[in-house]
Protein backbone atom coordinates (compact mmCIF):
# COMPACT_ATOMS: atom_id res chain seq x y z
CA UNK A 1 0.00 0.00 0.00
CA UNK A 2 1.35 3.40 -0.90
CA UNK A 3 0.87 6.42 1.30
CA UNK A 4 -1.56 9.06 0.13
CA UNK A 5 0.50 12.02 -1.04
CA UNK A 6 -1.30 15.03 0.38
CA UNK A 7 -0.35 18.67 -0.13
CA UNK A 8 1.13 18.57 3.38
CA UNK A 9 3.38 15.67 2.38
CA UNK A 10 4.52 17.56 -0.73
CA UNK A 11 5.23 20.69 1.31
CA UNK A 12 7.25 18.68 3.85
CA UNK A 13 9.28 17.07 1.04
CA UNK A 14 10.09 20.47 -0.49
CA UNK A 15 11.00 21.80 2.97
CA UNK A 16 13.43 18.93 3.53
CA UNK A 17 14.93 19.45 0.07
CA UNK A 18 15.53 23.20 0.37
CA UNK A 19 17.10 22.60 3.79
CA UNK A 20 19.90 20.79 1.92
CA UNK A 21 20.58 23.84 -0.29
CA UNK A 22 22.99 26.13 1.56
CA UNK A 23 22.10 29.18 -0.51
CA UNK A 24 18.35 28.66 -0.02
CA UNK A 25 18.97 28.52 3.75
CA UNK A 26 21.23 31.56 3.60
CA UNK A 27 18.45 33.53 1.86
CA UNK A 28 15.87 32.20 4.33
CA UNK A 29 13.58 30.64 1.70
CA UNK A 30 10.47 28.98 3.14
CA UNK A 31 7.58 26.95 1.75
CA UNK A 32 4.29 28.88 1.58
CA UNK A 33 2.13 26.44 -0.36
CA UNK A 34 2.52 23.14 -2.20
CA UNK A 35 0.03 21.13 -4.23
CA UNK A 36 0.12 18.73 -7.17
CA UNK A 37 2.35 20.35 -9.84
CA UNK A 38 2.50 23.71 -8.03
CA UNK A 39 4.74 25.30 -5.44
CA UNK A 40 5.05 28.70 -3.74
CA UNK A 41 8.19 29.78 -1.86
CA UNK A 42 8.94 33.00 0.00
CA UNK A 43 12.08 35.13 0.13
CA UNK A 44 12.22 37.47 3.15
CA UNK A 45 13.56 41.00 2.69
CA UNK A 46 17.12 41.49 3.88
CA UNK A 47 19.60 44.37 3.62
CA UNK A 48 22.42 41.98 2.72
CA UNK A 49 20.86 41.22 -0.70
CA UNK A 50 20.28 44.83 -1.75
CA UNK A 51 21.38 45.53 -5.32
CA UNK A 52 20.86 49.26 -5.52
CA UNK A 53 21.94 51.03 -2.32
CA UNK A 54 20.23 54.27 -3.37
CA UNK A 55 16.77 52.64 -3.43
CA UNK A 56 17.17 49.62 -1.12
CA UNK A 57 15.75 47.38 -3.86
CA UNK A 58 16.97 43.77 -3.64
CA UNK A 59 19.21 42.49 -6.41
CA UNK A 60 17.80 40.57 -9.37
CA UNK A 61 20.24 37.78 -8.52
CA UNK A 62 18.33 36.99 -5.31
CA UNK A 63 15.08 36.91 -7.32
CA UNK A 64 16.76 34.61 -9.85
CA UNK A 65 17.81 32.27 -7.03
CA UNK A 66 14.29 32.34 -5.57
CA UNK A 67 12.74 31.50 -8.95
CA UNK A 68 15.38 28.88 -9.84
CA UNK A 69 14.83 27.17 -6.48
CA UNK A 70 11.03 27.28 -6.79
CA UNK A 71 11.05 26.05 -10.41
CA UNK A 72 13.60 23.34 -9.60
CA UNK A 73 11.67 22.16 -6.53
CA UNK A 74 8.23 22.06 -8.14
CA UNK A 75 9.38 18.69 -9.64
CA UNK A 76 8.96 17.29 -6.11
CA UNK A 77 5.26 18.23 -6.36
CA UNK A 78 4.87 16.40 -9.68
CA UNK A 79 6.86 13.16 -9.27
CA UNK A 80 6.26 10.21 -6.96
CA UNK A 81 9.90 9.67 -6.16
CA UNK A 82 12.57 12.34 -5.75
CA UNK A 83 14.64 13.17 -8.83
CA UNK A 84 17.33 15.80 -8.88
CA UNK A 85 16.75 17.76 -12.13
CA UNK A 86 19.59 20.05 -13.20
CA UNK A 87 18.58 23.38 -14.75
CA UNK A 88 19.13 23.56 -18.52
CA UNK A 89 18.11 27.17 -18.92
CA UNK A 90 16.22 30.02 -17.35
CA UNK A 91 14.74 33.11 -18.87
CA UNK A 92 13.88 35.82 -16.39
CA UNK A 93 11.88 38.98 -17.19
CA UNK A 94 12.09 41.74 -14.60
CA UNK A 95 8.79 43.62 -14.84
CA UNK A 96 9.28 46.02 -11.94
CA UNK A 97 11.57 46.46 -8.95
CA UNK A 98 10.61 44.64 -5.74
CA UNK A 99 9.33 47.02 -3.09
CA UNK A 100 11.95 47.25 -0.29
CA UNK A 101 11.11 45.89 3.16
CA UNK A 102 8.64 43.30 1.94
CA UNK A 103 9.01 39.57 1.22
CA UNK A 104 8.85 38.26 -2.35
CA UNK A 105 6.80 35.18 -3.24
CA UNK A 106 7.44 32.90 -6.21
CA UNK A 107 4.81 30.53 -7.53
CA UNK A 108 6.00 27.86 -9.98
CA UNK A 109 4.09 25.29 -11.97
CA UNK A 110 4.94 22.42 -14.26
CA UNK A 111 3.75 23.21 -17.76
CA UNK A 112 4.79 19.90 -19.24
CA UNK A 113 6.68 16.91 -17.99
CA UNK A 114 8.21 14.60 -20.57
CA UNK A 115 10.48 11.60 -20.12
CA UNK A 116 13.57 13.78 -20.49
CA UNK A 117 12.57 17.37 -19.82
CA UNK A 118 10.44 19.32 -17.35
CA UNK A 119 9.10 22.68 -18.56
CA UNK A 120 8.28 25.19 -15.83
CA UNK A 121 6.81 28.65 -15.43
CA UNK A 122 7.19 30.86 -12.41
CA UNK A 123 5.94 34.26 -11.25
CA UNK A 124 7.40 36.41 -8.49
CA UNK A 125 5.10 38.85 -6.74
CA UNK A 126 4.64 40.78 -3.51
CA UNK A 127 1.74 41.27 -1.11
CA UNK A 128 -0.33 43.44 -3.46
CA UNK A 129 -0.25 40.62 -6.02
CA UNK A 130 1.46 42.65 -8.72
CA UNK A 131 3.97 40.55 -10.68
CA UNK A 132 7.57 41.75 -10.34
CA UNK A 133 9.27 39.05 -12.43
CA UNK A 134 8.49 35.95 -14.46
CA UNK A 135 10.68 32.99 -15.28
CA UNK A 136 10.46 30.22 -17.84
CA UNK A 137 12.73 27.26 -17.23
CA UNK A 138 13.65 23.85 -18.58
CA UNK A 139 15.10 21.11 -16.42
CA UNK A 140 16.77 17.87 -17.42
CA UNK A 141 15.42 14.62 -16.04
CA UNK A 142 18.52 12.56 -15.39
CA UNK A 143 16.53 9.85 -13.59
CA UNK A 144 16.11 9.05 -9.92
CA UNK A 145 19.01 6.58 -10.00
CA UNK A 146 21.38 9.53 -10.39
CA UNK A 147 20.58 10.44 -6.77
CA UNK A 148 21.59 8.08 -3.92
CA UNK A 149 18.61 6.20 -2.46
CA UNK A 150 19.39 7.41 1.06
CA UNK A 151 19.04 11.03 -0.10
CA UNK A 152 15.80 10.28 -1.99
CA UNK A 153 14.33 8.53 1.05
CA UNK A 154 15.36 11.42 3.28
CA UNK A 155 13.42 13.84 1.01
CA UNK A 156 10.32 11.66 0.51
CA UNK A 157 10.31 10.61 4.16
CA UNK A 158 10.12 6.96 3.09
CA UNK A 159 10.22 4.44 5.91
CA UNK A 160 13.45 2.48 5.91
Amino acid sequence: MTDVVTDKVLGDRVERFIKTLNQAQELGLTVVDASSGQLTLQLPYSEKIIGNPETGVIHGGAITTLMDTTSGSVMICALDDFELCPTLDLRVDYMRPAEPGKPVHARAEIRKMTRNIAFTRCEAYQDNGEVIATCVGTFMRIGKEATPKSFRDMITGARQ
Binding site: T20, L21, N22, Q23, A24, E26, E47, K48, I49, I50, G51, N52, P53, E54, I58, H59, G60, G61, A62, T64, T65, L66, M67, D68, T69, G72, L84, P86, T87, L88, D89, L90, R91, V92, D93, Y94, P97, T147, P148, F151
Partner: protein
Protein backbone atom coordinates in the same frame (compact mmCIF):
# COMPACT_ATOMS: atom_id res chain seq x y z
CA UNK B 1 30.46 59.02 -0.99
CA UNK B 2 27.60 58.66 -3.48
CA UNK B 3 27.47 56.17 -6.34
CA UNK B 4 28.77 58.66 -8.93
CA UNK B 5 31.86 59.39 -6.83
CA UNK B 6 32.45 55.72 -6.18
CA UNK B 7 32.30 54.97 -9.91
CA UNK B 8 34.59 57.85 -10.79
CA UNK B 9 37.14 56.70 -8.24
CA UNK B 10 36.93 53.11 -9.46
CA UNK B 11 37.57 54.21 -13.04
CA UNK B 12 40.57 56.27 -12.00
CA UNK B 13 42.22 53.87 -9.58
CA UNK B 14 41.10 50.46 -10.89
CA UNK B 15 40.33 49.52 -7.29
CA UNK B 16 36.90 47.89 -7.22
CA UNK B 17 36.65 47.44 -3.46
CA UNK B 18 34.61 50.62 -2.75
CA UNK B 19 32.27 49.92 -5.68
CA UNK B 20 31.68 46.31 -4.62
CA UNK B 21 31.18 47.43 -1.04
CA UNK B 22 28.40 49.75 -2.20
CA UNK B 23 26.46 46.82 -3.73
CA UNK B 24 25.50 44.60 -0.75
CA UNK B 25 24.49 41.63 -2.95
CA UNK B 26 27.97 41.56 -4.53
CA UNK B 27 29.55 41.22 -1.09
CA UNK B 28 26.89 38.72 -0.06
CA UNK B 29 27.97 36.21 -2.71
CA UNK B 30 31.64 37.29 -2.41
CA UNK B 31 32.14 38.74 -5.91
CA UNK B 32 35.54 40.22 -6.79
CA UNK B 33 36.64 42.15 -9.87
CA UNK B 34 40.00 42.88 -11.43
CA UNK B 35 41.01 45.03 -14.36
CA UNK B 36 43.58 43.92 -16.92
CA UNK B 37 44.17 46.80 -19.30
CA UNK B 38 40.68 47.54 -20.58
CA UNK B 39 39.38 44.08 -19.71
CA UNK B 40 37.46 43.18 -16.57
CA UNK B 41 37.54 39.70 -15.08
CA UNK B 42 34.97 38.90 -12.41
CA UNK B 43 35.74 36.29 -9.80
CA UNK B 44 33.55 34.34 -7.39
CA UNK B 45 35.78 32.59 -4.80
CA UNK B 46 34.40 29.33 -3.44
CA UNK B 47 32.03 29.79 -0.54
CA UNK B 48 29.99 27.24 1.42
CA UNK B 49 26.91 29.42 1.64
CA UNK B 50 26.74 29.71 -2.18
CA UNK B 51 26.19 25.97 -2.64
CA UNK B 52 23.00 24.39 -3.95
CA UNK B 53 23.20 20.69 -4.82
CA UNK B 54 24.76 19.11 -1.71
CA UNK B 55 25.57 15.81 -3.46
CA UNK B 56 28.10 17.00 -6.04
CA UNK B 57 28.47 19.55 -4.34
CA UNK B 58 27.72 22.40 -6.75
CA UNK B 59 27.14 26.14 -6.60
CA UNK B 60 23.44 27.06 -6.59
CA UNK B 61 22.35 27.84 -10.15
CA UNK B 62 20.72 31.03 -8.91
CA UNK B 63 24.02 32.22 -7.43
CA UNK B 64 25.77 31.59 -10.76
CA UNK B 65 23.00 33.65 -12.39
CA UNK B 66 23.30 36.39 -9.76
CA UNK B 67 27.08 36.46 -10.18
CA UNK B 68 26.69 36.91 -13.95
CA UNK B 69 24.00 39.59 -13.49
CA UNK B 70 26.12 41.70 -11.12
CA UNK B 71 29.13 41.23 -13.39
CA UNK B 72 27.16 42.47 -16.40
CA UNK B 73 25.84 45.50 -14.49
CA UNK B 74 29.31 46.52 -13.24
CA UNK B 75 30.82 45.94 -16.67
CA UNK B 76 28.14 48.17 -18.18
CA UNK B 77 28.62 50.90 -15.57
CA UNK B 78 32.34 50.94 -16.30
CA UNK B 79 31.79 51.23 -20.04
CA UNK B 80 29.30 54.13 -19.81
CA UNK B 81 29.69 57.80 -19.08
CA UNK B 82 26.62 57.72 -16.87
CA UNK B 83 26.91 57.23 -13.14
CA UNK B 84 23.60 55.51 -12.62
CA UNK B 85 22.91 51.87 -11.93
CA UNK B 86 21.72 50.19 -15.16
CA UNK B 87 18.35 48.51 -14.69
CA UNK B 88 18.08 44.90 -15.81
CA UNK B 89 15.14 44.14 -18.12
CA UNK B 90 15.64 40.47 -18.84
CA UNK B 91 18.18 37.73 -18.37
CA UNK B 92 18.53 34.52 -20.34
CA UNK B 93 20.82 31.88 -18.92
CA UNK B 94 22.06 28.56 -20.30
CA UNK B 95 23.68 26.13 -17.88
CA UNK B 96 26.29 24.12 -19.75
CA UNK B 97 28.11 22.28 -16.97
CA UNK B 98 27.69 21.89 -13.23
CA UNK B 99 29.33 24.77 -11.37
CA UNK B 100 31.49 22.81 -8.95
CA UNK B 101 32.52 23.96 -5.49
CA UNK B 102 35.50 25.99 -6.67
CA UNK B 103 36.40 29.48 -7.86
CA UNK B 104 34.32 30.74 -10.81
CA UNK B 105 35.17 33.45 -13.34
CA UNK B 106 33.13 35.61 -15.69
CA UNK B 107 33.74 38.05 -18.48
CA UNK B 108 31.30 40.26 -20.35
CA UNK B 109 30.92 41.67 -23.80
CA UNK B 110 28.82 44.62 -24.91
CA UNK B 111 27.05 43.03 -27.86
CA UNK B 112 24.96 46.03 -28.75
CA UNK B 113 24.69 49.48 -27.29
CA UNK B 114 21.55 51.36 -28.25
CA UNK B 115 20.31 54.72 -27.06
CA UNK B 116 18.24 53.34 -24.24
CA UNK B 117 19.02 49.65 -24.10
CA UNK B 118 22.24 47.64 -23.96
CA UNK B 119 22.67 43.95 -24.74
CA UNK B 120 25.44 42.27 -22.74
CA UNK B 121 26.71 38.71 -23.20
CA UNK B 122 28.27 36.99 -20.20
CA UNK B 123 30.40 33.83 -20.08
CA UNK B 124 31.26 31.98 -16.87
CA UNK B 125 33.90 29.29 -16.47
CA UNK B 126 35.91 27.49 -13.81
CA UNK B 127 38.77 25.17 -14.74
CA UNK B 128 39.32 26.38 -18.27
CA UNK B 129 38.09 29.34 -20.22
CA UNK B 130 37.37 26.99 -23.11
CA UNK B 131 34.89 25.05 -20.97
CA UNK B 132 32.16 27.50 -20.06
CA UNK B 133 29.86 26.41 -17.23
CA UNK B 134 27.20 28.96 -18.26
CA UNK B 135 26.51 31.60 -20.87
CA UNK B 136 23.94 34.36 -20.55
CA UNK B 137 22.71 37.48 -22.20
CA UNK B 138 20.97 40.38 -20.56
CA UNK B 139 19.22 43.55 -21.61
CA UNK B 140 19.68 46.66 -19.49
CA UNK B 141 17.77 49.90 -19.54
CA UNK B 142 20.11 52.89 -19.43
CA UNK B 143 19.15 56.08 -17.65
CA UNK B 144 19.89 59.13 -19.66
Amino acid sequence: MNMAEVLRETRETGDFAPLLKSIPYAGYIGLKCERFGDDLIFRLPRKDSNLGNPLLPAIHGGVIGGFMEVSAAIYLMMSQDTFRMPRIVDFSLDYLRAGLDRETYAECQLTRQGNRVANVTITAWQKSRREAIATARAHFLLDR
